[in-house]
Each structure stands twice: as structure tokens, then as C-alpha cells.
Amino acid sequence: MSLLELKNVSKIYGELHALDNVSLKVEKGEWVSIMGPSGSGKSTMMNIIGCMDKPTKGEVLLDGVDISKESSKNLTTIRRDKIGLIFQQFHLVNYLTAVENVMLAQYYHSIPDEKEAMEALERVGLADRAKHLPSQLSGGEQQRVCVARALINYPEIILADEPTGNLDEANEKIVVDLFHKLHSEGTTLIVVTHDPEVAEVAQRMIVLRSGKLSKEVVNKNFTGQIKLEK
């Protein structure tokens, strides 16, 4: 059984088909990237997989459970327990320190554990910046805190929306290396990106166009590392 399965999923806003009959399977431990131009339906797909939206038609099976029919209260619970989110804008709470931001995810999930949160920050190489506020961190550092927050509750899937969109080349590499590390530890990754270099690092690349799945590329030379110099 696949960890995630989209069966003929459509999202329709009036006349607009943001997603049009899309089917997709993601296996446990897989690293999949989703590419496509603006308006291709990437964000809509991301929202549906991330339990922040429901499809108009079709089924979305996460760990065997059809989440397309769940109430928004249940979707919150599923999102909290099974999904780790990484955002392009980082979205850290600006009055909480790095470690407190990581603990925030624990707070909603179970019980805040500072030691565990520090270990998560250590994994992303930010143990020494734990007591800093987001405003005292660089963009790359903020994104790494966001990664630590996403992985703290051991989610089934990490969903990253343009995770390198606001980063320079050096930080982009750091974040992609982190993804590689997480993937090698067995984490399932779904990365939405505009950046072909980041997309091509994944095991499999899905290309969306006008809400339809237009191309699927399997990376036969998968290494999980960025190869090209910019």
C-alpha cells in the first residue's frame, strides 16, 4: 500500500479546474518533487496533500485513510500527526526563539520537550542559534529552523513548498543536503519547486501543467545531492 495515493483528484473553482483528474502514488520513504509553471495547480495539490484543502472530486488516501471526506477538525489532527510543513516564507513565530518555534509544533502535537527540540536544531546545524529570535537569524537559518520544526514530531510526510525560493545558493545547498539526510533516514519528502535543479535532485519528478499531470521523470542517477553549479 502506498503512503499517499491521489485517485482522479479534481479541484474546481467555478469554471477553473485548478486540478483536473490527477492520480498519483507516493511510496513510503520516497522523495518526489512537483514542478510546473505558476497556475499549474502545484499549490492546490500541496494544500490537498497537506490537509489544508479538500478536493472537489476524487479520493486522497493517506496511510490508507481517505482524507478527502474528513471534517476540518479531523484534518487538523491528521496534519498535526502525519505531516511536517516547510514554507517558502519560513513562517516562524517572530516573538519565539528558534528552539521555542520548534517546541511549538511539539506543543500542539503532544508535550514540549526542550532537549528533543535542541536535538532537532542540532540536526539542522543550528544548536548555537537556539535562543535567537527569527529576526536575528538569516533566511537560510530561518528555513533550517522551519525544517527542524517540520521533522520534530516524526511525520509520515514532509511537505515543502518552494523551500529554497527565498534562499541564496549556499543556503539552497544546505537545505537540499538536509533533505538528502532526512531521506536517507527514511523520511518521505514531497517538494514543490520552481527550481529545476532542486526538482531534479529528487528520486521522481512530477510536472503539472494546467492542473493536469503532464510528465513524470524518474531520476535513474539519484544521489540526493545538487550536482550543478549556478
Binding site: 497537506g50 489544508m52 487538523t76 513562517h91 519565539l96 514540549p112 529570535l133 513548498d161
Partner: protein
């Protein structure tokens, strides 16, 4: 770290690390709490303040004889039923017909210190008598006899038994020094005032007290209770309220307290609107943060709990600040309006703080509830 500890850390961090934003909200709450606390203090202090003011308008209770005679001791016995801290003064008056230059004048013998206290509004040119042999004359008497402060005068009295005898009458007389001329605009200007001792010496008789005037710092109900108690315990005394004074005092007090209460309610309503507006702005400003919290798994309940916690903490701080500033405000009003300082009411501290917390929490509920409608997907996309 426990969940509770993290909860408190979050709400305190939100206030402490967003100081410039929160200070506006805190100020609006503190101003509301200040006015509220100040007005409530004034509301409860007005009777005391006005009572003191009204005492300037003279006695509000009188004793007369319930029968043939009323002695000074009986007046004092009646007055002893009134609490010391409420009894402002007692002035027993004995009136006798005397003569000055063979013209009849009414002499009032009294305890001068008591009369001063029960009639603080009397305007005296010169001084009140301070010892035996000194006399204060009413303005009309002074005009009729061309008397001046510092002058001497002989007061004559013919005892009743001598008036009817056939022998040659020798009047009792005492020479007085005039210390003051009384100007009240009332009938008091027709009398001469001396000490009870002088009048006793002049009449060679202890005599009856005609009337005793009492000034009591108490409301209408308390005065009635005192009068009833005195009437039932001191048979020779008939205690009555001076309706003219007590009724107007009650009317003014009731109206003033109603006005202060009305203003307090209006201020409370305005504070709620102000706090609700501020909290709406605070919540609107944090829509992204709410969206993020929802995206990482916060339930509506926990978001409401966090924001209510923050607003309650703001209410607590605003309430503490408001209590202190409210007392200063009430003190300023009291000093400027009533010329006297206000008494601190410890009970008002928890009441103001509780009201401040409740008002902030209640007025925050609507914007906070709307905050839970934030769609995390929309907010996180920056739409």
C-alpha cells in the same frame, strides 16, 4: 517542559517581545481601568465628602423637651447614643428675655464650642466669645443699639418672682465685652449670644434647655435610626431630624451617585468598544501567525485559549496600572472638587483587576473567534 509552562511562556513572550505593539492595547485597557476605578472610588466617597459639605449648612437633628423640662445632662445623655466619629457637634440653646438699655432682647445661652461646630457657616465680625463675660450680638441688635466689636454693654434680667412682687425691683445685671457681631441673614441676627454659665448667673437659675442642635455626619436612614434610639432611651428628649437639611442632602446625594454610576457604565461600555477594537487590530495583524499555528496542528480551542490568555494577562496588567492611576485620579478630583483627600478602599483593588480582566477577555472574544476562521492555506500563501 509541561504544556502549561509552554502556554505561559508563549503568552508572556507575546506581550514582552512585542512590547511596542502591546503597549497600545495595554494603554487602552489601563485608561479604561483608571477611569473605572477612579469613578467607583468617587461613587463610594461622595456621601462622605458631601456629608461633610452639608454639615456646613447647620444642624440636621434637634432635641426638644418631651415634657416640661430638658436639662443639659439629658441633652448630653441623648447625644451619647450617637457614634463619636459621626457626631460633629452639639449646641444646647437656652433662650431668655433680657434687656439692654431697658429694651427687651432675646438672649441665647449656649456652649460656644458646640455652636461653632453646628453652625460653621455663621459669619462673625470679630470673634466668637471665648470665656465668660464675653458676648456676641446679632447684626440687627448691633445696629439698633449702635454696638461695636470691642465695646462694653450691660445686660439686665428681672427674675419672674421679682416681676410680680410689690417691692422695689433690683435687676440682675452683668457687664459684657462684645467680641463679635453675627451676620447670618436670618433670625439669629435678633439675638445676643453668651455662654450658658453667664446666662445661668444672670438668671440665677439653671433653667431649661429650649432646644439642642446637633450636627451628625450620617445619611437620612442612620439619622432616623439614631433619633428612634434616643427617643426610646431618653424619655425627656424628643429627637427630630431637620427635614429641610436631611431631605435635600439625600436628594442631592442620590442624584449625584446616579450621575456617577451612569458615567461609570458609559465609560465601561466605551472601554469595551475600545479594547475590542484594539484586540481586533491585534488579531488582524496576526492572521498569518494564526494560519501558521493552524497549519502545524493547532485546534480552534487552543488558539482561543492562547489569545484569551494573552488578553487576560493584558487585562491583569492594565487592571493593576488602572488601580494605581485610578486612585490618583480620584484623589485629584476629590482635592479639586471637595478640597479633601479620598480614603483608599482596598476592596477596590481586586474588583478593578477582576473587572479589567473580564472586560478585556469578553471584548476580545469576538475578534478571537473570528481568528479561528482563518484558512491556513490562504494565509500562508500571503493572500
Amino acid at each position: 517542559m509541561t504544556k502549561r509552562k509552554m502556554y505561559f511562556k508563549m503568552i508572556t513572550a507575546s506581550l514582552m517581545r512585542r512590547r511596542s505593539r502591546m503597549i497600545v492595547a495595554l494603554l487602552s485597557i489601563a485608561i479604561g481601568a483608571t477611569v473605572l476605578s477612579g469613578l467607583v472610588t468617587i461613587y463610594y466617597d461622595v456621601p462622605r465628602q458631601l456629608g461633610a459639605e452639608f454639615r456646613n449648612y447647620g444642624a440636621n437633628m434637634i432635641f426638644t423637651a418631651d415634657g416640661d423640662e430638658l436639662l443639659l445632662d439629658e441633652v448630653n445623655q441623648g447625644a451619647s447614643y450617637i457614634s463619636d466619629d459621626q457626631l460633629v457637634g452639639v449646641a444646647p440653646y437656652r433662650y431668655e428675655n433680657v434687656r439692654i438699655n431697658e429694651i427687651p432682647v432675646v438672649a441665647a445661652g449656649t456652649e460656644i464650642e458646640g455652636a461653632k461646630l453646628t453652625s460653621p457657616n455663621w459669619s462673625v465680625e470679630g470673634e466668637w466669645p471665648s470665656q465668660n463675660g464675653e458676648l456676641m450680638v446679632g447684626a440687627n441688635v448691633a445696629e439698633n443699639f449702635r454696638l461695636k466689636v470691642g465695646g462694653d454693654i450691660t445686660v439686665n434680667y428681672t427674675p419672674e418672682e421679682k416681676e410680680t412682687s410689690d417691692e422695689v425691683v433690683v435687676d440682675n445685671s452683668i457687664d459684657f465685652k462684645i467680641t463679635g457681631i453675627l451676620d447670618t441673614g436670618g433670625s439669629e441676627e435678633d439675638y445676643v449670644y453668651m455662654s450658658l454659665d453667664d446666662l445661668q448667673e444672670l438668671t440665677e437659675d439653671v433653667g431649661n434647655i429650649s432646644v439642642a442642635e446637633l450636627s451628625v455626619s450620617a445619611n437620612s436612614d442612620e439619622l432616623t435610626a439614631y433619633a428612634d434610639k434616643i427617643n426610646s432611651n431618653v424619655p425627656s428628649v424628643s429627637a427630630r431630624l431637620v427635614k429641610r437639611v436631611t431631605a435635600s442632602e439625600t436628594t442631592v446625594l442620590t442624584k449625584l451617585q446616579a450621575l456617577v454610576l451612569l458615567v461609570t457604565i458609559v465609560v465601561l461600555a466605551l472601554t469595551m468598544i475600545c479594547v475590542a477594537t484594539t484586540m481586533t487590530a491585534v488579531v488582524a495583524e496576526r492572521r498569518k501567525e494564526i494560519g501558521l499555528r493552524k497549519a502545524i496542528g493547532a485546534s480552534d480551542k487552543s488558539i482561543i485559549a492562547e489569545f484569551v490568555g494573552e488578553s487576560m494577562l493584558l487585562g491583569l496588567l492594565g487592571g493593576i496600572l488602572g488601580t494605581v492611576l485610578g486612585f490618583v485620579f480620584a484623589q485629584e478630583v476629590s482635592v479639586n472638587v471637595f478640597n479633601s483627600s479620598i480614603s483608599f478602599r482596598p476592596l477596590l483593588v481586586p474588583i478593578t483587576i477582576f473587572a479589567s480582566i473580564a472586560v478585556t477577555a469578553i471584548s476580545s472574544l469576538i475578534p478571537i473567534r473570528s481568528a479561528t476562521d482563518v484558512d491556513p492555506a490562504l494565509v500562508l500563501k500571503g493572500e
